[in-house]
Structure formats: C-alpha cells, structure tokens
Symmetry: C3
Subunit: 462 residues, 3 copies
C-alpha cells in the first residue's frame, strides 16, 4: 500500500521544531555586527574623522543583495514553474526551503567563518552569503522537482546547507581559493549533490506520471519570468561579495558579456539540434544562463570581455548539447532522473567555470594586475603566492567540491529514501494536487457551460 | 433598476478634473528641494569642502525607493490578481489609484510636514513617503476589491490620503512616535479604514457573484508574483526612510529574519488547519507577508534577529488562523466582506507591530544603544525622553490611528454609498467585463474548433 | 510556393558568425576602463588622497543600470506578450536580439565616442549606453512583431545599431544636444525606423492571420508585467547617464511625476473614446508609458514637477487618441502595419519630448540654474552658449534624427525584403509554432479527457 502523502502533522511539526531550534540558536549565538549595532557603529563612527553614515557597508552591498534575493525567490521559483501542474509547488516549496535555508545557513556559515568571541556577527554580507548557500539547495531541488514531499525537501536542506558550509570553509579558508560567484561552492556543489540524491531516489516507474512531466504554453511563459530575472541579475550575483572597487565592477561586466555571448550560442544550437530548426523553450530557459555559471570563479579576475565571451559561448553550447544528448543517456543508463536538467545548467558549466578560474589564476601576473593583484588574490599578501600554485589550489578545490557533493548527496539521498516523509506515489508525481488545495480551471467550468452543458449533452444523445 | 456602470463620462471627468487640480496646486506650491534644484545644490556644494555630488541623497535613498515602488505597483497589483476574472481590474485599478494617490499624497504630506516658506519641497524622500501613503490606500482597496467602481476608488483615495497625512502628522510630529515601516500609519490605518468602508458598503446579496469570488490555477500563479515581490523587498520598505547608517542597515536585516520565520509558520499552520494537510494558496500568498508588517515599528530598534524571528513567527501564525477562523465570522456576524483578508495580513499584524514597537521602545537603554540612542529615538535630544513614556506614546499612537481609521472609514464609506459612482450590481462583482473590454479566451475558440465545432455538434445530434 | 521557414541552418549560422566576429573585434579593440582595470584603478586610487573604492562609478551607476536592464529584457519582452500565440517569440526574440545588440552597440558606440588610443574602453556607463541602443532596436521590433523571422530581426539589429550610433554621435558630439533619456536618439529614432521598415515589408494579405493578431485574457496579464516594469523604472532610465548629483536626482523625479499624470490621462481618454465607457487594455499597457518618453530630453532640465505633469498628461492623451484614431488610418491609407502601435507610444511622444526639450533649453537662464547651468548644458563652458541657439540645436537634432530614421529604415527594409530570411507566410503570422516547438495546452488534453473523450463522442452519436 502506498504511503500516505498527508502533510497535516509531519509538515507543521517539522517546520515548528526547526523554527524553534533556529530561534533558540539565534538567541544564543547571533549578534549585530559593527555595521548594524547601534552602539558599535556610533562608537566607531565618532572615533573616525573620515567615517560617516554613508560609508556603512549597507550602501555598497544592499543593492546587490536585493538582486541576489530576487534571483533566489523569483528566479529559481519561477524557472521551475515550467511544469504544467506543478506551479504552486515550484514557487511555493522554493519559497519554503529558501526561507528555512537562509536562516540555517546564517548559523552554519557563521559557525565556520564568522565567529567573534563565540558569537556570530550578522549584517548584509552574511545575508548575501546565506542567500548564496540557499541557491545551492535550490539547484538540488531542481533535480528532484516533482518527486519529493516538502518534508523531504526540508530534510535535504538541513544536510545540504551544513555540508555547503563545510565545503565553503575548506575552499575559502583552508585552500585559499577564489570563488566569488560560486562556480564551485554553489553550482558544482549543488548540482552534483542533487544528482546523487535523485539517483538514490530513482523511481523505475516514473513514466506513470510522464504526461505531467512537460510544460504547457502558459507555464513556459511563467518559467521565462524566472529565466529572465536570473539572466539580468547574474552580474550582481557574481559580484555581490567581491572586494569593493575595480573587482566588483569588473565581475559584473565580465558576467554581462559572458551571458550575452551564451545567449547567442543557445539560440544557435537549439535550432541546430532540432530536425525542423525549431527553437526549444527548455534550452532558452536554461542554457542561456550557463554563461553566468561559467564565469563564477574567473569573473573577478582580469578575464577581459573577450575571454568572458568565449567562456559564455562555450557554456551555452555544452549546455544545449547536454540537454539534447546527455540528459536522456543519464536517465536511461545511469538512472539519474534530473527533472530540470541541472547537470546542463549548473553541473557542466560549474566545472567549466572552475577550470577557467584555475587557468586564469595560473596566468595572473603583476604586470596585468598591478597593485590590484593582492586585492583579487588575497594570499599574495602572505608572500607565499605564485600563480601556478594558485592555479593548482583552484583545481584541488574543484576536486574537493566534487567529492563533498557526491559523498554528501549519497548520505542525504539514503536518509531521504526512508518511507516516512510522505513522498508522492509514482503516478502522482509532478502534481500540485498532492500537497495543495488546487482550484478548478475557469476554462473548464466555462466550457462545460458554453460548449457542452450536461443538458446539451443529454439532448444530443437522446 | 440597477444603476448604470457606464464609465464613459464619470471616469474621464473625474480623472481630468483631479489631474488639473493637481497640476495647478503643484504649480502654486511645489518646488525642488536642496538636493534636486540646480541652483541650490550647486551653491551648497561649492560652499562645502566635503560635500560632493556623490553625497546627494539620491544615491542613498533611490534604490530603496525603487524597491518600494515595485511593491506598490507590482506587489500590490499582482497580489490581487488571484481572482479568476478580475486580473485587469486588480492590476489596472491598482495602477490608476496609485498614480493618483502618489501625487495627492505629495501635496497632503507636504502640507502637513514639508512646508518651507509656504512651499512644499520635493525630492526622493517625499517620493518614498508618497508611495507609503499610496500603500495604505491599496491596502483598503483589498477589502473592497471586486465590489467598487474605479470612480469610487478614486474618491476613497482622496479622503484616505488626506486622513493618512493628518494621522501621520499627529503620530510623527506631535506624539513623536517611531514608525519607520508604518505598522501603525500604513498597515493598521489602511486595514481598519478599509474594513469600515467595506462594512458600510455591505452587500447582503453578494453570493450572486460567489462563483467568481475565487481563484483559478493560473490566477494564483500571477498572485504569487505579487507575493514574492512584496516579500523580497519588504526589508527595503521598512528601512527606506530610517536614519542613515546602522538604523537603515539594522531595519532591513530585522525584517529579513522576521519574514523568514513568518514563512515557516505560515506553511506549518496552513497544513495544520486543513483536514487533509493540504496547503492553501491564500495563506501562502498573504500570511507569509505578515512578518514584514509586524516589525514595521520595531524594525529600526535593537530588536535583534532573535526578537525579529519570534515576532515574525507569531505574525504568520495569527494571520493563517485569522484567514481560517476569523474571516468567516467577520463576514457572517459583523457583515464585513473583506475580499483579500486585509484584516489578517495588515490589520492584526499591524496592531501586533505597534505593540511590539511600544514594548521595544519601553525597554530601550543607553547601555544597549550607546550614542545611537538619540538617532533612533529622536526625542532623546530634547532631554524629556525616558523609555517608559516613549513606550506610552507609542501605545497612544496606536489608539489614535485606530480612532482615525474607524472614523475616517465610516465617513468615507457613507460618501461612497451614494448611488452615483457606477458600482457593479451584486451579480456582476469580481468581473472585469463590467469596466473593461475583455478579449475572448483562445482556448475557447480553439476548442470550439477542435473539440466540437457547430457542424460536429449538429452531425452528432442528427 | 512559400519560402521555407526552417531555421535549422540559417539561424545557427548567422548567430555563430556574428558572435565569432564580435569576439574577434572585442579581442582586438576592447579594454577595461580606468574603473574596471585592476592596474589602472589601483594606481589612480593610491595617487589620490580622496579617492577610495567607494567612489568607483560602479556604486553610482550600477543600480540604474540594473533598472534599465530590467526594462530591456522584462519590460520590452513581456510588453509584447499581449498576442495570444506569440509569447515565446515576444520574450524569446526580444532576448536574442537584445543579447546581440548590446554587444554590437558596445563596439559601434565605442567606435564613435569611446576610443582611447585606438581602444574602446568599457565600464558600467558603456553597459548602460549599449542597453539604451538596444532599446531602440526593440522599439522597432514592436512594429514588425509577428511578421518577421529571427534572422530578419538580427539583420535589422545590425543596421539599426550602427545607424543609431552614427545618429547619437551627430546629436551628442557634433550638435552638442541634450538627450539623456533619449526622446530623440532612442524613441523617435527607433519608432520611425521601425515604421518605415514595416511599411517596406507591407503585407496586403495580413488579414489571413487576423484571428491571431489580438490578445487573450492571460496574455494581457503577462503584458501588464512588461508595462508595470517599464513604468516603474522609467525614472531610472531617463536619469541613468545624466551628470551626478542634482541632475540625476531631478531627472528621476520629473519622470516620476510625468508618468503619474500620464496614467490619469490614459485612463480618462481610454474610457472616453469607448462607446460603452469601457477601458481598453491596449491603452493602459502602452499609453500610460508615453509620459516617460516625453520627458526623455527635458527631464534633466529645470522642468519642474508642474511642467513634467503637463507634459505627461499631454503625452498620455495623444497616445490614446493615436491608438484609437490614427493607427487604423496609418494602416489603411499609408500601409503601415504597426503591430504594437509604436507610433503612439514612442513616435509621437518622442517628437513631443524633443520639442519640449528644445523649448525648455531655450528658456534656461543662469538665474534659475545658478552654477548648475554648465552641468546641465555642457557647452556653456565653451562660452558660445546662449539659450536660443541651444534650443535651435535641439530642434535641428530632431530633424536629423527623423531623417536618419527614415533613410535608415528604408534601406534596412529593402534589405529585409529579400526572400532569404524565412519570414512567415501571411497565414502564419503572429504564430509561435512557426519557429518554436510549442507544447499542447493542458486544458485541451484535460477536456478531451474530461469533457468529451472520443469514446463519449462516439457513444453520443450512436
């Protein structure tokens, strides 16, 4: 007998327990930082002749934060509404797990690299970082979309956020890697984590829900809202936590050019791989974004507009080809059911981004960067820096990330396989009605009335 | 006989007369302020060694303004598109009354607290304040949604904006209250004003339009666009006009945490109150925002992330319970037909926000705020400040707001009851076709053609 | 025999060739500017006592850039989704030609007014300018919407961007005109260019696709997303590249008031011109934006809120009247098939904006502008400035723009008339299915199953 999908006790219990734990931990551990605390900020301000309220980091980080925030909630949320009967869940569960993850991420990231005298200090930068970590969870959500209960998703978020923070700590604090836009920490990690989870949760009889695992006309338009917002704000995403000044400015611009070139590649290859030369919405919705992923590491470096465009073009190309040729093979041979094709949007472009980052770092010279060298590669200051070893550490970072993602995804997938979360049965996947009160369609009622009312049908048949 | 709903003369006449009056009053009364006037700005700039163009308040307020602007036009507008046949009116009338209200609010607010030598000075701060006042009108719109003509809505806006400005003046200038995010001035005022208006306009036979007073699948997705934008930008809303530096930074962050906790509470209680444990889109669309309302007063204070999360969790809880248990009672017992449930999203959370603000103010100490105390509680400077009396004034402010809202709503409701505005008949509520040219549905035509053309029907029946 | 619309070779070939050319030219010609180059920025920074990272132009231009970016990709893209079966193409082709145009514009604009020692220097300002130029192409797209292949659109973009850059160079660098918000360079140019192109591509048998050349209920709501974003962010558009300080602040505010007044005029005249007093979505979606176009030149001047509101009111009025009375005449008499009515939204309001700009410039006095005079009218510094001649140059600029647009549109139209681009046949216009894989409608399947399955039909008829 199929497991009940009733969420009446499971979901409220989990949400309330998690939020209570979060509140208690925030009460014990979290404090305003120097820029948000009334006492600290005003002490610092009056002690410094040049420091005034306009220099609060709020004014230099908050616009980027809001762009990232839009990507997390509108971008990811609506991108996944492409399924015909899963719009409520796409936007709604995205909303739920993002709201949870950003709180949990604040604690986990703070624990690993934000502790000051036993307290976690928060401000706009921790808000951006928490949103970044959340992005990683939402990437994984894309792989299991339509096949999991909200309880499962929350449990996945608990583990994934934790491992994200560990991996990020190893990369940034131990290996001294550069990864401002998260090609490795966010995209590669989130993608391979999610792919392993969906592999473990493999459903041999998923074709029972096949008729709902596709889009309709309007759902594709809703998804384009997500796509376009992700595309527009990706320059803000990649530059949100770089150093101030030229690095932030340059990162945004490199991302802008990479995405523009990626879009042309996407349209080109989408038409090319179709027998009738018709464009496929799946490609436009997803592959056009791969250019942002692929400059997530090198974006802050002196990649040049020229280099960014090459990377973007390449990313769009492999992403479309992945959707067309690789995804079906992954499903049939490796039993990886990847609903949104995150391997093509985040997986391969993320690895490409890591490699581009390693190469660009290995080619860095004081001649090109001038005094800006140490501001991009922080470890220059330690005196131990040389480009080749830096490139090597970047490559090691990619390997660590892949290892963490595969291992973490495996453990998490096994935990999620327990039959206690109310996952939908095979014939009820990709269906909002399992977890939501779904209203009728106006059109149906309308037609029943206008086209064929019961009376008319009766009359006709008599 | 039913009153005609023809808008051909009434709406153009009212719009043109109002706009001509606005233009004349702006011509007589409104001037650029020091930051927007070419002469004044450049005089000040050259007289001051440290003041340069980068310090124009534009750069520190305008990004917040744009976020607020998105909330007013996209947030409120799309949130109300949940009704199946009222999308044009929801976005369209929202657009119309917001465009009017922001002009009228500039005059009214300027008249009460922006006069300089007989002139109203305008700049980005007055733009934010005008948008805030507009928000209050749009809240009230939510209560009467579907049951009023655009002429009625404009008349309501004339009165509500005026009374809003009076109430705001009493609270901020006379009582010296803190209310940066408008828990009292915007949400409590707008909600109870609207509830009294809809009470006065009570329609005993509204069930004639019952079949249209609900959502369809796609309309719920459109509404989620509104919800998510409101949710994301609420930190900007609450912080838009606080003092620069730590207060603005802190307000945004407190709101962010309050909303995150509120979202978990909303999902928890939405599933809990449903017999099958299914989530209800009405709750997700609305109650998840209550956390922003509830920290509208205390957000700029040292509420801490911990405190914000408790308030947010509480707000989400009472909001869902309100939708489930209180709204039906308000309608059946008190004859308050509250289309959007503004009592649950703005009313109760607004009152909660006012109380939290009063308590937090009463607990303020120099030990916690340091030299920041006078920057949060401006009246510290006057030397008459003590926390308890401050808390008392906050509480009095809530009472004044409630009084103004109830009284103003009553008068306005009675004026709107006159049968001269072309309100829709009971059987035509929640219907765009009354005031809009509505195109056919592609699907209908399509089906008439594909599923059952007249010929086919004939053939079948013969 | 009709030309094949198969894009399988044409579109990929063109996209790939264009992108390869772009990449090569970027590699040869484009360099980071002083604010984005690691070496240059840090050299400048350390040589200057007062210049710190917070003064990088990124922080003062990038928020405006992102607002403009949203207008280009979401605003224009969704505004055109009003057609019932052309949503994929509206958003998708908008996306494609914008991604191409912004790269090509960077080169063309850089070539004409951004060369430094043989290199084009790029930064956030060049990004805004490239987006502006792109906007012009998208305006022209509105005229030919539904009647052109993506290959045709890309070819149009190649020519239009080039001519835009020439015209912009003549106006800004030779004639010294003011046009910060592009009433002339963007709107007038884009509109008349597009109108001539659609005139040359006149289709006498377009009524074969008449049934698709209209909206459906949901498509009108999608279009309102575009409208509202354009409306909200227009203040950012007009102010994005003005001088810092008071001009930028003033421009945003003037635009805000112009748009508000325009919206009331639009609602008034939309109801007035309808026999039953019903509002028309076409007017609300488009004419309400004319106020932004019409202050594109004068917005940075001391137009005052009063003046802005008069201009906005006028713009909304002529725009609605244009949709109602002029568009049908243009089509029947002049054979101009203007799908989106760009003549009403961009053409007439653009010319109005140019005239308002000329008059406002001619009325400028040192008494009103003080030391701000030379910051608004840069040529004051040359000593040759007087208001009347300035006004004259503004008027000449309008004439030049119209000439360039008409001539450029004619040439481009003739090139686009060649039967090699795979344009849709007359009976297949306004139809996504020509160039896109279009999914079925859920509703159809649903109904076929629920309302009248083949079996039921058979049973009924037997």
């Amino acid at each position: 007998m199929a497991e009940s999908t009733d969420m009446r006790l499971r979901l409220p219990l989990l949400c309330i327990i998690l939020e209570v734990i979060l509140i208690i931990l925030f009460g014990l551990l979290v404090e305003y930082n120097d820029e948000t605390d009334a006492k600290l900020w005003n002490e610092n301000r009056t002690h410094s002749a040049t420091r005034n309220d306009h220099e609060n980091e709020f004014y230099y980080r908050y616009p980027s934060f809001q762009d990232v925030h839009v990507m997390i909630f509108v971008g990811f949320g609506f991108l996944m509404t492409f399924l015909q009967r899963y719009g409520f869940s796409s936007v709604g569960f995205n909303f739920l797990i993002a709201a949870f993850s950003l709180q949990w991420a604040t604690l986990m990231q703070g624990f690993f690299h934000g502790m000051h005298h036993g307290k976690i200090h928060v401000g706009v930068t921790s808000m951006i970082n928490a949103d970044f970590c959340t992005g990683s969870v939402l990437i994984s959500f894309g792989a299991v979309l339509g096949k999991t209960s909200p309880v499962q998703l929350l449990v996945m978020a608990i583990f994934e956020v934790t491992l994200f923070a560990v991996n990020e700590f190893i990369l940034l604090s131990i290996l001294g890697a550069n990864d401002a836009g998260g090609s490795m920490t966010i995209h590669t990690f989130g993608a391979y984590f999610g792919l392993v989870v969906t592999r473990v949760l493999y459903r041999p009889n998923l074709d029972k829900s096949k008729h709902r695992n596709s889009s309709v006309y309007h759902s594709d338009l809703f998804a384009m809202i997500g796509t376009i917002y992700l595309w527009m704000f990706w320059p803000s995403f990649n530059s949100a936590i770089t150093n101030y000044g030229d690095p932030q400015h340059r990162t945004a611009m490199n991302t802008y050019y990479s995405l523009a070139a990626c879009t042309l590649a996407t349209f080109a290859f989408s038409a090319l791989v179709n027998p009738e030369g018709k464009l496929d919405m799946v490609h436009i919705q997803n592959a056009a974004l791969a250019g942002g992923v692929a400059v997530g590491t090198a974006g802050e470096m002196m990649l040049t507009a020229f280099g960014s465009m090459i990377v973007g073009f390449l990313a769009g190309t492999i992403s479309v080809l992945g959707y067309k040729y690789l995804t079906p093979v992954l499903e049939s041979k490796l039993k990886i059911q990847d609903t949104c094709g995150i391997h093509n949007l985040h997986g391969m472009p993320g690895v490409l981004g890591a490699i581009v980052g390693a190469v660009t770092a290995a080619l860095a010279t004081p001649d090109v960067y001038g005094q800006g060298l140490q501001r991009v590669f922080a470890d220059v200051e330690t005196g131990q820096w040389n480009p080749q070893s830096k490139g090597g550490f970047q490559a090691i970072s990619l390997a660590v990330t892949l290892g963490m993602a595969l291992f973490g995804g495996l453990i998490t997938g096994l935990i999620l396989k327990l039959p206690i979360y109310g996952a939908p049965p095979d014939a009820q996947c990709f269906e909002d009605g399992v977890y939501w009160e779904v209203p009728g369609e106006e059109e149906d009622q309308h037609e029943l009335y206008e086209v064929a009312t019961p009376n008319e049908v009766e009359k006709l048949s008599s």
